[in-house]
């Protein structure tokens, strides 16, 4: 058994060391948050996802599309779980292309639950011309497309990676989004910001084309529940949680299934070990 555990340790360490090269890069330390969906057993908080969607609608959706999400997804289990009736009303506020009519014209129709959020721009060129040359990315998988870099001494890196694997840390993108949205600030005196750019503590290079979506400060968005503080920090966390769900809508099911599988495997493992011992008991080895 000692051999097995040392083998597992060596394997893990090798894996960790070799994956280490990924993390090299930007060295801005992104603070980590406590998320309801953190770690190996965390699950989404429905109310937070609903608030996050509200923030997306009010602060992000005029520039950022959400092309890979269908309206029906917002009703799905493990998501914001809005009632379908509400979503039908929401969908009807959007327009999508209808099928060509008998004369071959493509007209618009209002969206239904099975439609995805329509694109905001005809193409990349149009988006860039509207936004002063910058392209606001689609947000459907943004939480998975961003991450945090390890900051610290290299010899500690493997242990930090092992801890991340062990704790099931997958919220780098969520942490990054929450940090970015709260990272707007006055630039340091030594730094010159180009025309149309904004200073952000957490953006690589510190110059970001996106303006602060919460420039109105606290109380910019009106939450339905008075229990939730109406602050920029809270907005950032809520919308980051919503976008994390958008990137990874099956997280709840994935982690639940994971535990069932692990328990099954552990029991099988114990039984196999006992069986193996019994069989080998008669043999000298």
């Amino acid at each position: 058994m000692i051999k097995i555990s040392s083998l597992v340790a060596v394997t893990a360490y090798t894996l960790i060391l070799t994956t280490g090269a990924f993390a090299a890069g930007s060295h801005i330390e992104i603070p980590r948050n406590e998320w309801s969906f953190s770690g190996i057993s965390g699950q989404y908080d429905k109310a937070q996802l609903q608030r996050g969607f509200q923030i997306y609608r009010e602060a992000c959706s005029s520039c950022h599309s959400l092309n890979r999400i269908a309206f029906r997804n917002l009703a799905q289990k493990g998501g914001p779980e809005f009632p379908e009736e509400e979503l039908k009303v929401l969908a009807s506020e959007y327009e999508v292309d209808a099928l060509p009519n008998e004369d071959g014209e493509v007209k618009k129709r209002s969206a239904v639950l099975s439609d995805r959020f329509p694109p905001l721009y005809a193409n990349e060129k149009e988006a860039r011309s509207i936004h002063n040359g910058a392209l606001p990315p689609d947000l459907s998988v943004i939480a998975k497309a961003r991450g945090t870099a390890y900051v610290g001494p290299w010899y500690w890196h493997p242990f930090a990676m092992f801890a991340d694997i062990f704790n099931g840390y997958q919220e780098g993108g969520s942490d990054y989004i929450a940090a970015l949205l709260t990272g707007y600030d006055e630039p340091p005196e030594t730094m010159e910001i180009s025309e149309g750019m904004n200073y952000n503590k957490y953006y690589p290079g510190h110059q970001i084309a996106m303006a602060n979506p919460f420039a109105g400060g606290n109380n910019q968005v009106e939450y339905q529940s008075a229990m939730i503080p109406s602050t920029v920090k809270q907005y950032a966390k809520d919308v980051a949680a919503f976008l994390s769900w958008a990137s990874d809508p099956t997280l709840n099911q994935r982690k639940q299934t994971g535990w069932q599988v692990l328990v099954y495997l552990l029991i099988t493992g114990v039984l196999l070990y006992i069986a193996k011992r019994r069989i080998w008991a008669s043999v000298k080895h």
């Binding site: 051999k3 097995i4 083998l7 597992v8 394997t11 360490y13 090798t14 894996l15 060391l17 070799t18 994956t19 280490g20 090269a21 990924f22 090299a24 890069g25 930007s26 190996i40 890979r68 997804n73 990315p137 459907s140 998988v141 998975k144 497309a145 961003r146 991450g147 991340d164 694997i165 099931g168 840390y169 997958q170 780098g172 993108g173 690589p204 990137s247 809508p249 099956t250 099911q253 994935r254 982690k255 299934t257 994971g258 535990w259 599988v261 692990l262 495997l265 552990l266 099988t268 493992g269 196999l272 070990y273 069986a275 193996k276 069989i279 080998w280 043999v283 000298k284 080895h285």
Partner: protein, 379 residues
Amino acid sequence: MKAHNDTYLPSGSISKWIDERLPIMRLMHGQFVDFPTPRNLNYMWTFGGILMFCLVTQIVTGIVLAMHYVPHADMAFDSVQRIKRDVNYGWLIQSIHAVGASMFFIAVYLHIFRGLYYGSYKAPREVLWILGVLIFLAMMATGFLGYTLPWGQMSFWGVTVITNLFSSLDEIVPGLGSSIVTWLWGGYSVTGTTLNRFFSLHFLLPFVIFGLVALHVWALHVSGQNNPTGVEMKVKSDGVPMSPFAVMKDLFALVIFVIMFAWFVFFVPDYLGHADNYIPANPLVTPAHIVPEWYFLPFYAILRAIPSKLGGVIAMFSAIIVLVFIPWLDTSRVRSTKYRPLYRWFFWLFAFTCIALGYLGAMPAEGSYVFWARVFTFY
């Protein structure tokens, strides 16, 4: 190992009828039930079975994924997202396949290092070893081709960098390298055409691996298994029948391995990947750092460590090819490293170098350790 007794007794009349015409069950019984296994094998000898499991898992999940995947430059990225979102249990199948590639490489590296440590490449197992190196090569090709399919930024730029390596051949024969690159790409740049043919090859190669594995197992069953002492089994009582002894032990090890596998699949499915690959491929934007999958990092490090492009390419490929010649480079008559104290040092130095190369990826001198670790094997 033909000498072992045949204990196969067909029970029913149907199996007797088949046995007289095509004794395939008898063959299987002889090779996988009666087959004598050294009784002193440790758990490092369980990776063969684990690798078989990995291969089958990859093929089964891969075939299902291929039913939903679209190898088109404009649709590939979205089709992977559809698989993860809309296909029933697509998130699970996709995750197993992506994580499975890494698990396959973990297992194969341990398997290779076990072979190096216990001298499993020495006579009479040279052909067995070379078949193994060929399987490793085919795996690397398959892994590389597969990583292009999600068509994210890292996929696209990975293909661009690696296929461009062939253009260094221009330094030897002008025009040769660029022609090869154009031929690989199916055009003058990496496009949907490249993606389409890579998909086709990624589907083909696992079956080539399967064929090579069959030969690998055949060769193993001709020479018999090596064991930690490196001294061949002499009498029948040195071994035990494969079933149930080795089978049970392999199954137990497999479950331990699958527990680790499941941990990654269910709790950290994206840990082994790169966030940039969730950005759709864009030929106009180069990512800040282009890095291959972790299992290629040591080789990538060698490539980058050498200042000349051609030299780097040669060093990288020779680091793999040198494996083929190990049975002859190592002239020691002692097999197991247990009884070779000096080689033991070099073995661990080599293992350390591989890990360090993977991590640092930039130390020029270290590339040569790979070679020296082998040269010093004959002390």
